[in-house]
Amino acid sequence: MADHPETELVPYVRGELAPAERERVTRHLDECPDCRQDAEGLRELLMKLSRSVPVEPRVNWGSYRAELRDKLAARRARRRAWWSQPLPVALAASFAGVLLVFGVWGGWRSPGGVEPVTTEEATIGRRLGLLQEYSVVERLDLLEEFDVIRNLDQVAETQEG
């Protein structure tokens, strides 16, 4: 006799098996009284459970909904407060500083034959690349960047000249 289809018995009594699988289990049950008894026992137990599901305690749905609204509002307020904390702003400023350092370092390594530029011009010029990184820029909150942005046209002329 084939292996006993123990784990198929519950889907079998619930009518969930695919036709081929159902036929295989039916054939087995025809030949195996133990499995037949098992299947019958499971059927009765499932019916007993379905008919006796305990009823949950009642709820005042008005106060449930009000509580839910309050909890959701509090959760949203906590998430907004997190972003305005000093730490994320400090992290963004540090990241911008690191980019700046690499930008200046890259400026010192420019190839020969190019007119030397002042340190300040190199610094400002390199910051132009930074402005292309909008996702970084929108998070910057450094006042000195405004000077650069305000004088962008002058910086551009200097570089062309």
Partner: protein, 188 residues
């Protein structure tokens, strides 16, 4: 024509508060009932079903629409409940005869109406009480599988999607759970 749950979920992702209210209204009773069935504590069921709605709100954008909304939401809810039980390690509960806060009715009083013969009825009530006490002693995964099948009447495939496991695993959970329950009823 009323919008489907899936459409409402997409609107919740776009922060449509009215859509969220509608979804809560549709699912609040089912969510609370399922949470209580797993947890057997009214206060926890209230808190955790509300937590599931908050997570629905926060992650509505990740509902891809591949599964039914109910399956996706039940998965959130069951995970919230099972995680809570794992943390508290209090899933091995005897069924608590928790009185209804409004009427003071006990768990036994809230069972379906007994048959005419009072002796038979008392015997049946005791059997039912023992049966559900045994359900409460199942492992969290087995208990969730049994409740989703007999209370929510979900097919095995959907239970697998809610529990995020294979259908074969659900069949094993159910087989072991029901064998345990049968042995309990036979020995008592």
């Amino acid at each position: 024509m009323e919008p489907t749950d899936e459409v409402l979920c997409q609107r919740v992702a776009a922060r449509d508060e009215a859509a969220f209210d509608l979804l809560v209204g549709r699912y609040q009773e089912r969510a609370y009932r399922l949470a209580w069935s797993i947890l057997r504590n009214a206060e926890d069921a209230r808190d955790l079903s509300q937590e599931a709605f908050i997570r629905l709100y926060q992650s509505a954008g990740s509902f891809g629409g591949r599964a039914k909304f109910s399956t996706w939401f039940y998965r959130i809810l069951v995970n919230v409940c099972l995680d809570d039980r794992r943390k508290s390690r209090g899933w091995r509960l005897w069924v608590r005869d928790e009185p209804d806060p409004d009427t003071g009715e006990s768990l036994l009083d809230r069972q379906p109406a007994p048959a005419a013969d009072p002796v038979d009825a008392l015997g049946r009530e005791r059997t039912v009480s023992k049966l559900w006490a045994a359900v409460d002693r199942l492992t969290p995964q087995q208990r969730a599988a049994v409740i989703l099948q007999v209370q929510e009447e979900l097919p095995t495939a959907e239970i697998a999607a809610v529990l995020k496991c294979s259908e074969a695993t659900v069949r094993v959970h159910l087989h072991r759970a029901l064998q345990t329950l049968r042995k309990t009823m036979e020995t008592s």
